[in-house]
């Protein structure tokens, strides 16, 4: 039997990896993937807690997170496509039209 802490620690590790990816990666697609990693780390924690409390609240939450994340990514990819059309690059460092 794997303890509750194991799930929480795994999800925390995944979340931190995702957060580091968002901050350190320069490719917009990889940044998105890192955000997804963070969200799925949270999903893992939610499902684990849901099992611990033997309720369904956490699982319902996960449903919503999955769908909303898909909508969010769709919008983000559409934005990347438009940016690629003008800049011919998806490196987020090219986004410095405005100072600071």
């Amino acid at each position: 039997m794997v303890g509750m802490e194991a799930y929480v620690i795994l999800s925390a590790v995944l979340f931190v990896l995702g957060a580091m990816g968002v901050m350190m990666r320069r490719n917009a697609i990889l940044v998105f993937m890192s955000v997804e990693l963070m969200l799925n780390a949270a999903n893992l924690a939610l499902v684990a807690f849901s099992r611990q409390w033997s309720g369904v609240d956490g699982q319902v939450f996960v449903f919503f997170v999955i769908t909303v994340a898909a909508a969010e990514v769709a919008v983000g990819l559409a934005l990347i496509v438009t940016i690629f059309r003008t800049k011919q690059s998806i490196n987020i460092d090219v986004l410095h039209q405005m100072e600071g």
């Binding site: 999955i66 769908t67 909508a71 769709a74």
Partner: protein, 120 residues
């Protein structure tokens, strides 16, 4: 002991499973006539033959199509529980599901009118 016998069952599968596809392939190799020519040797590809570099830019339209698919695909997660419990739902729960499908089709109509479903 009991657990072990359950695993043994899977072990038998592991042994038997490769044999099933291997036998026809071997038999085919032994029995079939061999008359190779250039077209037969070419990599199988459906549709028209490829011309030029395959690493070309896709039309943006394909991305939009993909994005629309992504959304509809994921929204199905809400319909699964509804469909599984379908036989036990009262009319209101049924109507809620129908409303959800209506909202999805609302978005589909929008995408359609905006030509997001056009391939060409």
């Amino acid at each position: 002991m009991n657990v072990l016998s359950e695993w043994a069952f899977i072990g038998v599968f592991f042994v038997l499973a490769p044999i099933l596809p291997a036998v026809p392939i071997l038999l085919g190799g032994v029995l079939s006539p061999k008359k190779p020519n250039a077209i037969k040797q070419a990599t199988y590809e459906c549709g028209v033959e490829t011309v030029g570099d395959t690493w070309v830019q896709f039309k943006v339209q394909y991305y939009i199509y993909g994005l629309v698919f992504l959304i509809f695909d994921v929204e199905m997660v809400f319909l699964f529980p509804w469909a599984v419990a379908y036989g036990q739902l009262d009319f209101f729960a049924f109507a809620a599901g129908v409303l959800f499908i209506f909202l999805l089709s609302d978005a589909l109509v929008y995408a359609w009118k905006k030509n997001a479903l056009e391939w060409a």
